[in-house]
Symmetry: C2
Subunit: 194 residues, 2 copies
């Protein structure tokens, strides 16, 4: 049978160095700029030995990110101020930008598409479950604003506000962000008082 053939000590570190390079390129110039030669140059290592194909690399980048995201989301929704903590995660510029790029890249990389769909489902399920339990604490009517709507609204709002800010669009995103903070103040205060 196949021998164990264990990798060397430094290998996992090199894998993550390649993943870091891929993320950085994606954030700077978009997913289409993530080419084998560009990653090689940025990481100082050739990717093909460690990942085989670009598809595999994209999937690995996504997986590493997705695992962190789901863990952090779970913690946030179980924290003292679930809405505020959730918003902090959703409105993180780096994470949002990467998610947008990876989702766009998934359009023509089917192995990646499956991963993206899975994360979308898991994250939304997590959010909806958590919201089902806490929405009433915030004084939000569940018939008028069901968890599925609130979840989509939070994610969408974060997406638009963050993207407009990152891209430097002149869309009063600062004012919107301030209003969201005020809203969170009021909601979290109201929840504590209940």
């Amino acid at each position: 049978m196949a021998e164990p053939r264990r990798p060397r000590a430094a290998t996992t570190e090199k894998r993550s160095r390649i993943l870091d390079a891929a993320e950085q390129i994606m954030l700077k110039d978009g997913y289409a700029a993530v080419t084998s030669r560009r990653v090689d140059a940025e990481a100082g290592i050739k990717l093909h030995y460690h990942f085989g194909s670009l598809d595999d690399l994209f999937v690995a980048v996504f997986r590493r990110r997705a695992e962190r995201s789901v863990d952090r989301l779970r913690d946030a929704l179980e924290s003292d101020q679930p809405l505020r903590a959730w918003w902090a995660i959703a409105s993180d510029p780096r994470g949002t930008a990467l998610l947008v790029e990876l989702t766009a890249a998934a359009n023509h990389r089917s192995p990646l598409q499956a991963e993206v769909a899975e994360l979308a489902r898991d994250a939304r399920r997590l959010e909806i479950e958590a919201l089902s339990a806490i929405l009433e604490d915030y004084g939000i009517d569940r018939d008028e604003f069901p968890p599925s709507l609130v979840a989509a609204a939070v994610q969408g709002l974060a997406l638009v506000v963050v993207q407009d800010e990152v891209r430097g669009f002149d869309t009063a995103h600062g004012e919107a962000k301030a209003a969201i903070e005020r809203l969170l103040d009021r909601l979290e205060r109201g929840r504590g008082a209940r």
Copy 2:
């Protein structure tokens, strides 16, 4: 001086045939699939004579779309049921998908980036102005939900719901859409009664 050298009769039709082809490719396989040879094949004409460069083509696709969008948005916001009409536009799958692709493409096509920024600013300004006038009619508190927040929320919500639906993600988007319709019903009814 330069002679008039007027183009032939069929030329404008051919230009728009190329634009149509570019849109179709983008919707099907993403902006990165819009290559000169692919467009040539899809449209049956060579694009370089009519547009010069791919950058010019992308800008032309965006401009044609942007002009229609702003006009339709203006009409919607001046209609009898501004929120509902606006939502209908924002949640149009084809328009949303194209906007996402073009915005992503703008990441590494600077001539396009300038156009996108301009549309974002103009559309948002239009929305904020209209909302400033009608928000109170809907019984929405302007301090708690300022126009800039409502505008970002509507666009973000549409983005997420439509994208999840188009991509077949299992995120309860159907339920969210139904809740939005109920919300619109209530809001528009309340506005009429005022």
